[in-house]
Amino acid sequence: MKFRIALLILLLSVVMINPMAQAFRFSVGAFGGLNLPVAQEDTKSGTVIGLKARIPVTTYLAVEPNYTYLKNGDGEVKVGSLGDIMMTRDGGKYSTYGVDVVFGGVTGYKGLNAYGILGVASAKFAKKGLPDLTKGSLWLGVGFEFGITDYLSVDFRGKALIFPYKDDSHSNGDTGSRKNGAVTVGLNYYFGVSEE
């Protein structure tokens, strides 16, 4: 019974998309690229992948729920006392769920648009052998989007993740952070009204 109700709601939603599309437009997309840890000797550069949706609020402002996965490369240290051999350590990985506010050219129509990005996220940092850390984090960045058509676009983004944390067991310690840069290329598909 529950399944039938859910199916009915889904079918009604699909039917209603057409008239709503006259005034509403949104996108879904995927992205991937390079993850660059900032000032972290215990990690190296790695990869980043993610998913996002964009829901324009006005012509110049949109919100983007997103999921991002960042994998750090293994950290490397040269050990002088053992004849300068290199030893490595797992660099860790982040899973973040959040919402970005995007401002600037956010409509995604055909042509080039630029925008700024400010976001908050719940981020989990996991590193082999250590307890996971889950913290509220910030995303800052800029992006450029090229609309190939009114429905399909490619974007290029540079974003910075700030992952703050404080170790309460260290009485003299302050709040520190890990920071990662993410340079990504993404592909987006828009649903809804066309400019033409």
Binding site: D42, Y60, L61, S81, L140, K166, S169, D174, T175
Partner: protein, 180 residues
């Protein structure tokens, strides 16, 4: 457009306020790796030869350079080469404590076990590198509170009794968050 700009400005100011709340230290901090590689080789034998290794972080120049702006110890790792002289498989362990103990029983009763489960074949030698030591890491949160005290003992033991081991090429790695 004007309304949108005002909204964007408010969001920007909100984020700026949030960053200021986190503090300057949060923005400028980074991670460094402190390597303690001056620990001499040791022999460990049940009740007869039991020598811990004493670590004084204030002797380490990297630690000294960063200790005043240290936010946290984020990771602890080891490298070493353990030889098992017994005719049975040994399970290698590393324990940590501020206090000095004279017997394995005292260590087991009062110290914090930081590495456990390093299987060493009978009469065999096993090398553990920094990355691999994470497979055996335990009680990280308790261990780092001892490391913050800067002076502590490391005990190299075996879960089974009796035991007889040599430990060589001992390195301690600490990943620390602070001013890079």
């Amino acid at each position: 457009m004007k309304k949108t700009s005002i909204i964007a400005l408010k969001i920007g100011l909100g984020i700026l306020a949030l960053l200021m709340t986190l503090g300057n230290n949060c923005i400028t901090s980074g991670n460094i790796v402190v390597v303690i590689d001056n620990l001499s080789d040791l022999e460990g034998q049940t009740d007869t030869t039991f020598t811990p290794r004493y670590v004084d972080l204030t002797d380490n120049s990297d630690w000294q350079d960063h200790k005043d702006q240290l936010n946290s110890v984020d990771d602890i790792g080891f490298a070493c080469k353990i030889t098992n002289h017994e005719s049975t498989v040994a399970t290698g362990q590393i324990w940590i404590s501020e206090k000095s103990y004279s017997s394995p029983a005292d260590v087991r009763a009062s110290a914090v076990k930081i590495l456990d489960g390093i299987a060493i074949a009978a009469g065999g030698t096993r090398s553990i590198e920094w990355k691999e030591s994470a497979d055996f890491l335990s009680h990280f949160n308790e261990a780092k509170t001892i490391i913050y005290k800067e002076k502590f003992h490391l005990y190299f033991m075996v879960a089974e009794t009796p035991f007889h081991i040599d430990v060589k090429d001992i390195i301690l790695f600490l990943s620390c968050n602070g001013k890079p």
